[in-house]
Amino acid sequence: MGVEGIGARVTRKEDKRFLTGKGRYTDDMTVPGMKYAYFIRSPHAHARVKGIDASAARSMPGVIDVLDGKQLQADGIGNLICGWMIHSKDGSPMKMGAWRPLAVDTVRYVGDAIAIVVADSLGEARDAAEAVVIDYEPLPAVTETAVAMAAGAPQLHPEAPNNLIFDWQLGDGDAADRAIASAAHVTEIEIHNNRLSPNPMEPRATLGIYDGAEDHYTCYTTSQNPHVARLVMSAFYNVAPENKLRVIAPDVGGGFGSKIYIYPEEIVCLWASRKTGVPVKWTADRTEAFLTDAHGRDHVSKVKMAFDADNHITALKVDTIANLGAYMSLFSSAVPTYLYATLLSGQYAIPAIHANVRTVYTNTVPVDAYRGAGRPEATYLLERTIETAARELGISPAELRRKNFIRTFPYQTPVIMNYDAGDYEASLNAAMQAADWAGFEARRATSEANGKKRGIGMSCYIEACGIAPSAAVGSLGAGVGLWESAEVRVNAVGTIEVLTGSHSHGQGHETTFAQLVAGRLGVPIESINIVHGDTDKVQMGMGTYGSRSGAVGMSAVVKALEKVEAKAKKIAAHLMEAAEEDIVIENGELKVAGTDKALPWFQVALAAYTAHNLPSGMEPGLKETAFYDPANFTFPAGCYVAEVEIDPETGETDIVQFVAADDFGNIINPLIVEGQVHGGIAQGIGQALLENVQYDANGQLLTASYMDYAMPRADDLPSFKLSHQNTPCPSNPLGIKGCGEAGAIGSPPALINAITDAIGNNGLTMPATPMKVWQALHAAH
């Protein structure tokens, strides 16, 4: 496809501005008359709010106004919602407690917003915030996932007795129970998936602008899906009708899921702008990010995996409690259900699977999708369990996996998913070869001689991404469709603008989307611009999450391009007096196949706009729109191998090698895919070894800064050995899968399997900090 087309290692077009500090982020936006907002947040994890006295604050220097939840409610602004309906197994709908953008009578986590101060400067807003007197009556709090439903636990919402949001199941429980009862071996294990804070480099920010003359709102925001933000703010929060609300997500510095959701701050700043008559900007500081960005994971599970005498898996039974925090965030209910339990078959043929998932409220930050969203939890559970089973059964972990791999496609799992393509053994073989698995015992002996403990572990992951067919997700409770739209605008001189509903916040769409067009038309990549992130420019879109921009967003571009190409061919055929079906597009020209007749691309574009000589009845112009709704999820899969060396004196883990063998189908840009995998593995290593959100018993967040929340740094990471296998995805026109989340999904179990192998103690939980490894090592011996 040429040096700039699909498959080429094109360096990222957007990096010049990012690397030279010229990116334009929400906090860089400045408009005349703009003022600054400071949110007053609850210092208590749970309290009744008995009164707010802002009288002194209102008269302080620079203060425009202090606004609270009662005023917001009086103006008809709605509560935040969860957009995915889940029903409990008794048929009752999930119990959604009210989440007001500004709390009115009760606060439910440290950081819950209560009021907003708007002032000439941030300093003055903060000064005034300290003068606002709030009368709290502290209430007891609950933070722990496993005890939220216990008798006597503090209750968060009257709608949800025992803090239970829903008690949901998937699969055939009776079949699983029968298989377990008659099994030759049953592996039982308890799995904890630690709570994480997403930590994008750019904290959340928003600028709300109300234009009184036009009765129109503009919202700059750090969003992964500006159109969804507009839809939700308009349809559910009653901020403004869609035609009166423009949402712009300019350059966004990372999201990892945390910027999918509509948070209170966007809503409140838009409303405050109307109330005060001035544009209102808010930017989170890092502490606010820890206190208010939706967290990820936080599951506790009990697992049973049954085997027959030949070591084939006969059943899997999972009982999970998932912590959703103080309120139900936008997609929180989907994460521990349809993005989790549907992946519990993994890469294995398991005849019977049953998952029971209970979700609970606690006095903690709301929990929602974070890089991988449900799939890392499923993969960790499954890959820790099968590893444990291999140890119990005394067979090699590779052998046990190999024996149980799914080998024919399509494959219908017992938990909804229909895998369309894959070759799991190819990735397993590639990973083991790259890791020199066969030579491990010799390396272990060398480590032992040096007083170190060495271990090796693998993880065979599968994930479902590209989410997904709209009708399918709709039938499962989604409040939106999950298609994508694209528009290809060919200018009169042949340059091209591609408008996409996908949103790039680090993924490199400006490069990969342009590669697709450059490759198909044979025009220079510089002649193509990718436009995204503005509801006034792009008609509609569902945004970027779930590794969907390639599989879904680019497929929409393909559909629009096909329409553009068809029209261009008609014009070229007319101009060259040839048959339409004989026209081919190659190297920037429209050629009559088998002849030397050709027209340059720009000339056909110009002809479309001069309209002097078009086929009879053809409209002028060259611009097409398409909506693409995928036929299925895509199923990236792979095998990761981690090898570690542990210092038994300190418990410190050194990752001596990390191998990733991924099947992402066809690859648009290997350079960008490798970067995505590197970043994903870094986050997976963070989860496995370093990161852990911790609250104390009173609900105070103990890990509210980098002094206590351990983010991976460069020297925590090894060099990664990557390879790609390719079973093209049959469900989209490009044959591509998704690569954005795989690294974070596949890596944690490989690491914990390696560490537990090294220390001979399987009872280790994430993160495997030096102290925990040291304790586990000494408990084992």
């Binding site: 300093g123 206590d708 983010m711 030096p770 102290m771």
Partner: protein
């Protein structure tokens, strides 16, 4: 941050005068802790008196085996001092592993020991070397200087001007990083000095940096890592926090002490 007035002192006398003129003022010598604290509105000095630009407070001076480090000398300068490395490489190594490059170019030895963070590196070095802390009005031995968590013998308005010590016969420093902050979760400085063997532990004690007499006695008789093998570190009096409990810290104290001895030069 609350509003504050910044003053750049030109001399020690100027700094002392500025400080006495502003009751609610604070000395600033790098600000690696103070500025963060102010940004969080947990400290609100009316005035900041910056000591980093006083020429007499900067630099490493060596006369024979006597070392004098100006209080406003940044960690990066100590780490890079070849003259110091020739007679006390352990202190260069300690300074070279504080924080990150930004911290090492802003933070100073005087700022570090005056703040006396229980997880800072310099208190271990200064106490381990048996150094003398020189102030604008007196000299204080390291044994008397560090008095508790973020507490020192400094009187109100008193400022550190230098740290002096005799280069030890041998010294070593080993630390185990807190995985999040990269402060010392435990750091041990060992030194064979003219006045005897000294072992100072930072990052572990619930009252801040402390000397370990059991290790000192063992090493006085036999300067080797193995001399410490049979000594049990008492976990009482050690810190327990999110990252490490007292028992694990007790283990680290011993492991780091052995490594410090093994690496001593």
């Amino acid at each position: 941050m609350y509003a504050t007035s910044y003053h750049r002192a030109s001399s020690v006398e100027d700094a002392v005068k500025l400080k006495s003129a502003h009751d609610e003022g604070k000395y600033l010598s790098g600000g690696m802790t103070l500025i963060s604290t102010m940004k969080q509105r947990l400290a609100a000095p009316s005035d900041l008196i910056d000591l980093r630009h006083i020429p007499s407070l900067r630099g490493v001076r060596i006369e024979g085996r006597k070392v004098t480090i100006g209080a406003a000398t940044p960690h990066a300068d100590v780490a890079a001092s070849r003259e110091l490395a020739a007679i006390c490489p352990a202190l260069c190594q300690l300074a070279g592993h504080i924080g990150d490059p930004h911290v090492r170019h802003m933070g100073t030895i005087g700022g570090s020991i005056a703040n006396n963070d229980p997880a800072a590196d310099y208190p271990a070095g200064v106490l381990g070397l048996g150094a003398t802390v020189v102030t604008d009005r007196r000299s204080i031995s390291a044994d008397d200087f560090f008095t508790g968590l973020f507490e020192t013998a400094l009187a109100e308005g008193e400022m550190v001007t230098a740290v002096t010590f005799e280069a030890p016969e041998k010294a070593g420093y080993a630390k185990f990083n807190n995985p999040a902050s990269r402060f010392a979760m435990t750091g041990v400085f060992v030194a064979k000095t003219a006045g005897g063997v000294r072992v100072a532990v930072t990052g572990a004690g619930s009252s801040g940096v402390f000397r370990h007499s059991g290790f000192e006695q063992a090493l006085a008789g036999n300067w080797s890592a193995d001399a410490l093998s049979n000594i049990t570190v008492d976990s009482s009096g050690l810190m327990s926090d999110l990252h490490a409990n007292a028992e694990y810290r007790a283990n680290l104290v011993k492991v780091m002490a052995r490594r410090a001895v093994a690496s001593a030069g």
